[in-house]
């Protein structure tokens, strides 16, 4: 009979299970991996390889090997654009995670039978169309829009500060559009928190806040990290929101890549930019996974 493994942080239970089902993971992962290889890895490698060739005069590809596109990526202009996009995406992700986690926590604290419904209603607005929602924000925020109307109705006479076509509008738009994803991501680990653990913590004298900070939060940090990554990744590649809510006045990495492929017909440079973008993001994600593993190790696992 397999021995029960010792209580080692993060590994309780997994070692012995793996002994039993060591070969099975491959079968489980196979369909997904095959799909990804066929419909993502191969096509993308083909396109990204173009980074090493030259753009033809009229936008086709000239198959002469060159590193000029790769070199161009390091131009300060593009570095600046990347940093700006990362800043906006990071801000949006940070705020979204706070709001989303709070919402997910609140949903998870409701009676169980209401939870699916609440989740559904949290997600429902996002089954309307992205553009439609963004235009609704424009109606709200523009100088002659509803928020101005409300202010005037309440008696405010002066010139309204510019709400729309600002960086702030873009951030709000991003938060709004990706909030449900954070809620869903955070809900997953929150939904099965064993209430007895929190009770035990309080029985032992910890306040509600301390219980939250030192018991609940660490156990659900995986959801937070996932949610942050979702919003960050989706925001950084987004080109619709900066164009519509930012009035096209910000160049984000998403627009930049889009422009290379579609406006300049410069697939090689677009491919080079994408390669670097992917590499940087991959690096960030590895960091995040690393941090999550560290943060979630040492906990007592529970069903």
């Amino acid at each position: 009979m397999p021995r029960r493994s010792e209580q080692r942080p993060g590994h309780a239970g997994t070692k012995t299970v793996v002994n039993v089902i060591d070969r099975k993971p491959t079968y489980l992962m196979a369909p997904a991996l095959a799909w990804l290889t066929c419909f993502m890895v191969i096509p993308c490698l083909l396109i990204l390889a173009l980074a090493f060739f030259r753009r033809g005069i009229y936008g086709g590809i000239e198959y002469t090997f060159t590193l000029e596109n790769v070199a161009l990526v390091f131009d300060p202009l593009y570095a600046g654009i990347f940093l700006k996009s990362a800043w906006i995406a990071g801000l949006a992700a940070g705020v979204a995670v706070v709001i989303g986690y709070a919402a997910a926590y609140a949903i998870a604290s409701m009676p169980r039978r209401y939870q699916p419904m609440l989740l559904f209603f949290a997600v429902l607005p996002f089954w309307s169309n992205y553009l439609v929602r963004t235009y609704a924000w424009i109606v709200l925020l523009n100088r002659e829009g509803l928020i101005t109307g409300l202010a005037r109705w309440m008696g405010y006479e002066g010139e309204m500060p510019r709400l729309l076509y600002t960086e702030g509008a873009v951030v709000v738009g991003l938060i709004y559009n990706y909030l449900p994803f954070v809620i869903l991501a955070c809900y997953a680990p929150l939904s099965r928190l064993n209430p007895e653990i929190s009770e035990a913590s309080r029985d032992l004298g910890a306040s509600g806040w301390t219980t939250f900070r030192r018991v609940t939060l660490p156990m659900t940090v995986a959801g937070i990290a996932t949610g942050f990554v979702f919003v960050f990744v989706l925001s950084i590649g987004n080109f619709v929101t900066p164009a519509l809510l930012g009035g096209g006045q910000f160049q984000m990495i998403g627009n930049l890549v889009y422009d290379q492929f579609l406006k300049s017909n410069d697939w090689p440079f677009g491919a080079a930019l994408s390669m670097f973008l992917i590499a940087i993001m991959m690096g960030l994600l590895t960091l995040q996974t690393f941090a999550t593993e560290r943060a979630s190790g040492g906990r007592v696992p529970q069903t």
Binding site: T16, V18, K24, A32, M40, R113, F121, P125, L131, Y176
Partner: protein
């Protein structure tokens, strides 16, 4: 959660109220605009339901809406299946391969224009007929990555000893997965599926490029994007209103039929 004080309960309700207000304010705007007599959102010119009528007669929009649902449903089903299995497989493994992690995260990181063009070029190279099915194939790619992430987040706090107990008792691995692991994972799987569905329903770039050239593979985001020449018409607002109402009705019906609640409760 049991054992929380009244203050906490009130706080929870307050949070929910604020967040839902934030979520629904733009929605109420577009809801109101769908009844606006005039075409431009700039001015309210009176109440009217004429846009709903115009909408239902607009075959293009209705056709696109149907296509969107087909694409979303199928890509969600496949992505949830593949993604969940992938998540379980990855979390079971003793070694966490860096390469594996890269492939799993890649669909989320690759700019969608790159994926879109890559797939179109690839399909074109292989002379594949494009159509709704190619959109579905493409959507499964990023959907499964998101489902996998959500399910993995749940699996981090999963107690594998129950799996061990089940196999100790002689259950074959598939039965263990089906009857022991899955019920526990259910909320995460459902959350992942909802996520995938939402992503698919609203996705434009990849759909545009991987669609066929004809009318019958146009999805709603493609249709709406093309129609924004004149800004968002009340017709489109009316459509969004209808979509959400229909979803609510569908949910209410499913609650009725499924009084048992979610599995695992």
């Amino acid at each position: 959660m049991t054992g929380q004080s009244r203050v906490t309960a009130r706080l929870m309700l307050l949070i929910l109220g604020v967040v839902f207000a934030f979520l629904y304010i733009p929605i109420s705007v577009l809801f109101a605009l769908s009844f606006n007599e005039g075409g431009l959102p700039a001015a309210w010119t009176g109440g009217s339901t004429k846009w709903f009528g115009a909408l239902l007669q607009n075959d293009d929009i209705m056709g696109a809406a149907l296509n969107t649902v087909i694409v979303a449903v199928f890509s969600t089903l496949m992505a949830t299946l593949f993604g969940t299995l992938l998540a379980i497989g990855v979390e079971i493994r003793r070694r966490k391969g860096r390469f594996l992690e890269t492939i799993i995260f890649a669909p989320m990181i690759i700019p969608d224009i790159v994926l879109a063009i890559a797939l179109l070029s690839f399909f074109s190279m292989l002379n594949v007929t494009m159509g709704l099915h190619t959109i579905i194939f493409a959507h499964v790619v990023f959907n499964l990555a998101f489902v996998c992430s959500v399910v993995r987040a749940r699996l981090k706090t999963f107690d594998w000893s129950i799996v061990e107990a089940s196999t100790d008792l002689g259950a074959p691995i598939l039965i263990t997965l089906w009857r022991v692991v899955l019920p526990v994972l259910a909320p995460a799987v459902i959350a992942g599926a909802l996520l995938a569905f939402t992503l698919s329903v609203d996705e434009f770039i990849i759909a545009f490029f991987t669609a066929g050239a004809g009318r019958d593979s146009i999805t709603l985001p493609m249709q709406i994007f093309a129609m924004i020449r004149f800004g968002v018409t009340p017709e489109i607002n009316a459509l969004s209103t209808i979509v959400m109402c229909v979803s609510v009705v569908a949910l209410a019906l499913s609650q009725r039929l499924n009084r048992g609640g979610l599995p695992g409760q």
